[in-house]
Amino acid sequence: MRKKHIVLFFVCILWLVTAAPVAYGKVYINIDSPSAQKFPIAITPFKNMNNASAQESLSPWFADTLGKTLEITGFFNILDRKAFLVDQTKLGISTENIQFPAWTGIGAESLVTGGFTVSGRDLTLECRLFDVVQGKLIVGKRYTGKLEERKEMVVRFAQEILVALTGEKGLFDTKIAFTGKKSGSSEIYYVNFDGTEPATLTNYRSITLSPKWSPDGKQISFLSYKDGAPDLFVMDLNRRTTRKILSTGRLNLPATWSADSRRMLVTSSKDGSEEIYILSISDGRMTRLTNDPSIDVSPTWSPDGKQIAFVSDRGGTPQIYLMDSSGAGVRRLTFEGGYNTSPAWHPRANRIAYEGRAGGTFQVMVLETEGGTPVQLTTNGRSENPAWSPDGRYIAFVSRLGGKSRVCVMNSNGTNVRVIHEGLDAYVSPTWSPHLNFY
């Protein structure tokens, strides 16, 4: 994860600094609008600046790679190069060379031009993003590094484009961890937001479940039967060390971390029935929040830490309830369908994603915490265990369809479903990292 940081020695230069603050003030794509259309963007082939003949293929490669990267976000309509009216690689890639009407004419609202210079194994990459409607440069960057670092340079510029157009950088520096089951045992795996670099985190050949990424990005908590009983563990991701934080001889389940990564909501049956506690990680102190002989499980904190959503079957079926962070003021949130579980509180809004029963199967639903009508986001097969991205723009979930289980990511309005991991027997419990800043 960190290696890239050290290897990629790059220099960024912001052109036309005076234009930048004006351009940054505008949000071109309002992601949170439910009616948001995909933003039409044209990406020209990149100009081979010193005409290194051996590197001709890089010209379309840069454009294609940037296009694919942006497409993953689900926010862009990448315009087909065949429709382009002018060849900017011949005309030039700077503001004074851009024929803006030729781009608005094909429906583009933004244009990306680029140029590269290869000298031995050294690469210099220039990228520019234009607002073709207003006819001006929005952001320009220059990256220098090694030729094999070109993909990272492209992803870095994609992040710049997202900041410029949506007001926030993309999730390319985030990972999603989950439980994967294979041959009767389960382990924790993780993969990048774009589905690249899948890896395993545990190899206990036991039952290992419910990974939860800490908000500081440095730790993952999980439940494992590796020592015989369902105990809680925390793994330090940099050192790859694991320590046991709760062992009661009975059921213990980890849930959401506090914003400061020092406390954790947990479910434990140590005092009898399954109750929700706040566990202080440094000293193991537990504060009990619920007191009911029925099942209380899967708690999730609101972003301000003042409220908790959780699952309880105290009403006869599993439903989602809300309570104050002290455990007082319990009220039922879900009433539709006989089985609503796996709540995940939106990182910035009073909104809960959960798994609800719909038409004989289970689908991902979203409901405002003041109540109302749930919005069903998924329809195919069975969709479970929703987990919000740190910006709330995406939801990771597990899809079971046609006998196959997959880890998927979709935009928060239910569109743009992508598979990020498949091939194991079954998957459960995705959890999303914060920004890890590896791009």
């Binding site: 479940l209 099942i295 079957d313 089985y339 289970f362």
Partner: protein
């Protein structure tokens, strides 16, 4: 209890036999006194010694045969117990429920009888669920199922300290087909005797 009684009888008979036939098991002090006395008192004749040896051998043979018979009896009892416990290895539950059915109570009654008959045995109750619903919720539900069985055994007079409960949620299915018959099998509490 009966088995231990037999064992004790055999042991005592063995000790008695050895005490009667040999001086080895008498205390060291007594042995020394015997040695000092042996000079002043005539020892037993060769005939008497031969007779004693023959009697001793007969007793030892009888003891060995009895021990073998006892061992066979114990093996048969253990096999019968294992066979009966196999039938009492599981109880089943309705979907999303942890309440005990009449059938489950009946089986638990037999489990309690077995535990009373074998006071040294301990029991682990493993709670399991089918794959519908959420795995976290099912881990809790499995714990409730195991606890429901444990509580019932407790009301039948079994010491709670002899019972351990663990939930495996939906993680250890005994059956993997997508049929109700199969899901029914997976919604269980399984008894493991140790």
């Amino acid at each position: 209890m009966k088995r231990y009684g037999i064992l004790l009888t055999v042991f005592m008979a063995f000790v008695l036999a050895i005490t009667l036939t040999s001086g080895c098991s008498t205390p060291k002090k007594a042995t020394k006194e015997d040695v000092t006395k042996s000079g002043t008192k005539p020892g037993p004749s060769d005939e008497e010694l031969a007779k004693q040896r023959a009697e001793q051998e007969a007793r030892e043979r009888a003891l060995r045969e009895q021990a073998i018979r006892d061992q066979e009896a114990r093996d048969r009892a253990a096999a019968a117990e294992a066979a009966s416990l196999k039938d009492l290895s599981r109880i089943y539950f309705d979907f999303d429920r942890a309440e005990l059915s009449n059938e489950a109570r009946e089986i638990l009654g037999k489990v309690a009888a077995q535990l009373k008959a074998s006071p040294k045995k301990t029991l682990t109750i493993e709670g399991n669920c089918d794959d519908r619903g959420t795995n976290e919720y099912n881990l809790a539900l499995g714990q409730q199922r195991a606890d429901a069985a444990a509580r019932y055994l407790q009301t039948l007079g079994i010491d709670r300290k002899r019972i351990k409960t663990i939930s495996y949620g939906e993680e250890r299915p005994v059956c993997s087909e997508a049929t109700e018959a199969c899901r029914h099998k997976n919604r269980n509490a399984t008894f493991v005797y140790r």
